[in-house]
């Protein structure tokens, strides 16, 4: 096994060795359920065979809570406790460390994202069949969410690499991801300044993802970055 995968495996396991994975998963599902069924009148009032509500609310939860919590420790904790020295001085490339940690954290986030597949499956396939669900937008919506997770975790990892305090990493990630999300709302209010609105729309996760919810997958609109944080 390559060093990168070994590091990813260790990172992934360490989430489950501590309460963090369980707490994040349980509370996220609880929050998602509340948002899905009750927020803005809830799913039942909408009265439509669609899970687009899921795609609207889940990335927010990811931005504001899950990703910051999952990524804050990645490098910040290693620096603080000094284990980074141990890790870096093993025969691993820096890129192995970064990608390994990235994959480890992404694994946890993707588990969370993919478990929400329970919503469309349980409601529209088995045991209930609430109506004819259009599979296309669901598939593209999930694709969007997976890509969004990739980008958000990358941003979180970058920020975690810049500090040795988990709290600082959490808040900055929270702020950056939150801002990138809310720029979409801001853009719709800035209609008087089309250039400004266009810029906001361009960087906003929300604007980008909304295409995916509608079943529109156009590759040029999606750009996500893999940061390559250095240890120093």
């Amino acid at each position: 096994m390559s060093p990168m995968l070994i590091i990813a495996k260790r990172e992934f396991r360490s989430y489950f060795d501590s309460p963090i994975a369980y707490i994040v998963i349980c509370l996220s599902f609880f929050a998602l359920g509340l948002m899905f069924f009750f927020l803005n009148g809830g799913f039942w009032q909408l009265d439509r065979a669609s899970v687009s509500r899921l795609f609207e609310s889940a990335p927010m939860g990811l931005s504001f809570l899950v990703v910051p919590v999952v990524t804050m420790r990645l490098l910040a904790e290693e620096r603080r406790s000094g284990t980074l020295e141990m890790l870096i001085t093993l025969p691993v490339k820096d890129s192995d460390v970064v990608l390994g940690k990235y994959l480890g954290a992404l694994g946890l986030v993707l588990i969370l994202v993919l478990s929400t597949l329970a919503y469309p499956l349980v409601m529209f396939k088995f045991p209930w069949n609430l109506g004819p669900l259009d599979g296309g937008p669901v598939a593209s919506g999930y694709l969007g969410m997976v890509l969004f997770s990739c980008a958000a975790v990358a941003i979180g990892l970058l920020i975690s690499a810049l500090t040795d305090s988990q709290a600082v990493a959490f808040f900055i990630t929270f702020f950056v991801l939150g801002a990138l999300w809310l720029f979409g709302d801001l853009a719709s209010k800035a209609a008087d300044y089309p250039t400004f609105a266009a810029v906001l729309n361009y960087v906003s996760f929300q604007s980008r993802l909304s295409n995916f919810w509608r079943g529109l997958v156009d590759s040029p609109t999606w750009s996500f970055s893999l940061p390559s944080p250095c240890s120093r």
Partner: protein
């Protein structure tokens, strides 16, 4: 340069902002050498080790480990070393076994090799009882053992240990040192410590650094002889004297002692007794106790105490690292024994700091048999 030079530091300088943590550090470590790396806190021991393990890069200078440059080929360097950082930072959420397995996997050991090495490592580091325990529940001493185990798991040709015994109890220390001595026969070990007794036990050679510079480098005996002085303690009764003689005043006694041949300096020591107590320093190759005794008899003074201390490594260490600038001698002493190999590099820093040397130091050179005294006049 011979191929059996395993670690070679060449003019390593590291600056952190304006602070110069390392200043032109030069040294070589050959295969089969166990070298103690000594120095007070903040002298640059850990910085040097971090450079050698490619954790940080030097500002200037270069280093080679096992023939690989730390800058150009860090992966190869890391493969050939086992490294225990200071305070043994470990992943506390893993068990000991998981951690060792993790280190072994990253190092590319397969299952059978791992099991074989694990047995040995467990035996040496005394981990049999704690393999299944979470590292977070272990005491500092045990964590240090795990860190050491991690450094040994792939049986590396070079071991770099930053204070490997700092949290161990005396039994553990002895066991680890015994093992270091044992494996040191065909491996290269650089270990840093404050504990000079450990160095005397496990190492044949020491490098002493102070304020980022190498102030002494050589076999322990040579280092002990560095200051080339022996200490005598003399106490003379200040109230009674033989027969009709008068007990001496302090100044009188001091003057008489100073006049003895072979005495380099006399200093009065404070004492509780009704006595004058002096500390004399003489050169190492002579013994002036007899002269002192004869002086007392001739003057009719009462000698209460006479003692000769060989300068211990401890004292040399304190002497060399006292921190005053005049002791910063660059790499002047370095490589007294590696003279054929790297004369040029070592000469430069010594020559540069030459002016700083004072009479205090010039005495030492009398004892330097192999007169490669770097630029000392």
């Amino acid at each position: 340069m011979a191929t059996d030079v395993m670690i070679q530091a060449n003019g390593l300088t590291k600056r952190f902002g304006v602070v110069r943590a390392l200043d032109k550090v030069n040294f070589d470590v050959k295969r089969g050498e166990v070298v103690g790396f000594l120095g007070p806190n903040g002298a640059g021991k850990s910085t040097t080790m971090r450079i050698l393990t490619c954790f940080i890069s030097p500002s200037t200078g270069s280093a080679k480990v096992n023939g690989h440059d730390v800058f150009d080929n860090p992966l190869e360097v890391r493969k050939s070393i086992g490294y225990l950082p200071q305070r043994a930072p470990l992943y506390t959420d893993m068990t000991v076994w998981e951690y060792l397995k993790f280190a072994a996997e990253i190092r590319g050991l397969d299952e059978t090799a791992f099991k074989k090495r694990l047995k040995k490592v467990v035996e040496v580091c005394g981990l049999a009882q704690s393999l299944g325990k979470d590292i977070s529940t272990l005491s500092h001493g045990y964590r240090q053992r795990v860190g050491l185990g991690q450094a040994l798991i792939h049986d590396p040709p070079i071991l770099i240990l930053d204070e490997p015994t700092s949290d161990l109890d005396p039994n553990e220390k002895a066991e680890v040192l015994r093992y270091i001595k044992e494996i040191g026969k065909d491996r290269t070990i650089l270990l840093s410590t404050h504990n000079l007794a450990e160095v005397e036990e496990a190492c044949a050679r020491a490098i002493i650094v102070s304020k980022g510079r190498v102030v002494a480098d050589g076999p322990l005996d040579e280092i002990r002889g560095k200051t080339g002085r022996v200490r005598y303690v003399v106490a003379i009764d200040e109230q009674r004297a033989e027969a009709s003689n008068k007990p001496p005043a302090a100044a009188q006694a001091q003057e008489a002692l100073e006049r003895l041949s072979g005495v380099k300096s006399v200093r009065e020591l404070p004492t509780d007794e009704k006595a004058h107590k002096f500390e004399l320093s003489g050169s190492q190759d002579s013994d002036i106790r007899a002269e002192i005794f004869r002086l007392m008899v001739a003057k009719g003074w009462t000698l209460l105490e006479l003692r000769r201390d060989a300068q211990s490594l401890d004292a040399v260490f304190r002497d060399l690292t006292r921190g005053d600038e005049k002791l910063d001698r660059g790499a002047g002493w370095a490589a007294a024994e590696d003279e054929e190999e790297d004369d040029d590099e070592d000469d430069k820093p010594a020559a540069a700091t030459d002016e700083d040397e004072d009479e205090d130091e010039s005495e030492d050179d009398e004892d330097d048999e192999d007169d490669k005294p770097k630029g000392k006049s």
